[in-house]
Symmetry: C2
């Protein structure tokens, strides 16, 4: 295994402590399943060093007979499951929103996203073993809280998801990514994987799961990762009134050519990704003239849809001059993206999902 230092050198590093980094878009688009060492990293505290042999997961809370599981218990007691799912940061593409007005947080380009085969056990199986009734997903007032071994401002990292999502077949406690044990920066030995939801709800370095009648009161859940209207500022924000970011909105990005590339006139291959939260991508439109005319890209779906991204590709005949390449996607509800970043701007810079633009120079 490569060292963390070696892996950091492969990525665009936004911060070292906490460690936040993303791959360049051209490399991101090279493989449908993102190699672990190219997968974006979003941390909120220092990376914990965990001895897998000593690691324990406790399960407790309402309607639950407590469990205390080792990694061997987890593997032995529950059937293994693999889900192909895309993980993305709520701040992916924040850099595009910064062009409108300042926003807080790291200036992620479109690389705070990646797709993997996640292998582990179904969280629903674990909860059922703890006594949560099979029909409990109808209790929409129950929540599953996660607590982790990383520390954020003096407290363990903690978030929660609705019970219905916790018992859905796609939600895992994962110990492997693309067939290998998790890397330390991706949550070794066990992390949650909540497909379709923002990455913040898929905690790494898990240590405790609690079934409860309210969302987590941890600041990560109660205060952060909320979507606010455009007129709200850091000073006026009331977290209780913000929208808790869970399922991610429709989004798409051009990965090739890179922004600012110098190209030869003529047929040019344009490639990227599109993703629609819990829906499927049904169409991707690409423009070579800033959005005046549109052409339909070829879509590459794989088995994981709708929780995994769709790769797309198109060949456009580009005349010489400055060209504004644009992409917009359509989901299975016939919905498409807003055109301009000011339409979704918010002071936290979350859910940046307007048409993605890449300016190129064609000679």
């Amino acid at each position: 295994m490569s060292s963390l230092t070696e892996r950091m050198a492969r990525l665009i590093v936004h911060g070292e402590r906490p460690y936040n980094a993303e791959p360049p878009l051209t490399r991101l688009r090279a493989r449908y399943r993102t190699p672990a060492e190219d997968f974006y990293v979003r941390s909120h505290g220092d990376l914990p060093e965990i001895d897998a042999a000593a690691w324990r997961l406790s399960v407790d809370g309402a309607h639950v007979g407590p469990l205390d599981l080792s990694l061997a218990d987890l593997r032995a007691r529950f059937p293994e499951a693999t889900v192909t799912a895309t993980m993305q940061c709520a701040g992916n593409r924040r850099a595009d929103m910064r062009a409108v007005a300042p926003v807080s947080g790291d200036p992620w380009d479109g690389g705070a996203i990646g797709t993997a085969d996640w292998t582990g056990v179904r969280l629903g199986d674990v909860l059922r073993a703890a006594g949560v009734a099979p029909g409990a997903n109808l209790h929409s007032d129950l929540h599953v809280a996660f607590e982790s071994q990383d520390v954020v401002e003096g407290r363990p990292y903690g978030v929660s998801i609705p019970l219905a999502k916790a018992v859905a077949g796609e939600t895992l406690l994962a110990f492997a990514m693309n067939g290998a044990s998790l890397l330390p920066e991706h949550g070794f030995p066990v992390r949650a994987v909540v497909p379709g939801f923002a990455g913040v709800r898929s905690p790494k370095w898990l240590k405790r799961i609690t079934v409860q009648d309210h969302p987590s009161t941890n600041p990560m859940q109660a205060d952060d990762y909320k979507l606010f209207p455009p007129d709200v500022t850091a000073e006026t924000a009331n977290p209780a009134k913000g929208h808790t970011i869970e399922t991610m909105p429709l989004n798409a990005a051009i990965c090739e050519p890179a922004r600012g590339a110098r190209l030869k006139a003529g047929e040019t291959t344009i490639r990227g990704y599109a993703i629609a939260g819990d829906r499927a991508i049904v169409r991707v439109d690409v423009s070579g003239d800033g959005g005046r005319s549109w052409h339909q890209a070829t879509l590459e779906h794989e088995a994981g849809a709708p929780f995994a991204w769709t790769f797309w590709e198109i060949v456009l005949d580009l005349p010489s001059g400055e060209r504004d390449l644009v992409v917009r996607a359509w989901d299975s509800a016939g919905q498409t993206q807003p055109a301009r970043p000011d339409e979704t701007w918010n002071f936290k810079g979350y859910l940046s999902a307007s048409w993605h633009r890449v300016w190129v120079e064609v000679a």
Copy 2:
């Protein structure tokens, strides 16, 4: 019961044969559950006259032991179920798209939508009684085709939905609307109600249900109600390449004040609806200045969500002059609507769902 002629006089009639009509928006906004006589009507052929005592429903197809059910059988054999759901035409708000370029079809304003308590039996219960296995919703390659007693261009009306949606708890064979038998123009004696999907997939005057391994080959399914890109025309459209409209996109409309209203300066109440297909509405923004500044409306949810609309209301202080009122909604995936109708324009005028604008004169 009023006569059909009396009920037609209450509505804005786009056509008499087939009969297509919608209520004015101010009346639509008056009641959360739309009275049957104010509910939009979309027909594709003449209204069939059906003797309920002689009516039969046949269920057949793959994996099915055939059933032949009278209305009394349907009521006696299956538990009654009521779902609060919004029905809307795929052409709702088409008039806004016509402002960009001509489109085919009736120029619906924002009234081709309505919400009711639908009472009937669960389609899933009927299919299970016919032998469709409980886990059959995993067979994503199966479809449930409907055939009706109305005739469109010489053929019975026919469409289909995926089996997974057919066995979902919200999908009904309904015989009542807001507690009373269906009116003839709403499908008496029995219609399908497929919440979240475009109205075309909820056929009225049902006569046959077939489980099959392919979508309906009826032109209503195979050719019509497809979403095409903006460059496709009636001459170049290939129905096999269009997106089959099922779940409807995020949408919102201002119902009060009416377009062109003359108002007094000062505090003005603005009301409307918002709807998000199979998702929930989490925020509604209203602008009194054409979209430069936004304010958050108060939301009125009811039990049926996410398959029922959200009513919203806000008081804005409008200064004198011409004012451009605008609404945009946000769904539970943090997604919002496109700003301009040209961003979603298609020659059929389907899924018109950009920001809704109402110009008023404030004195």
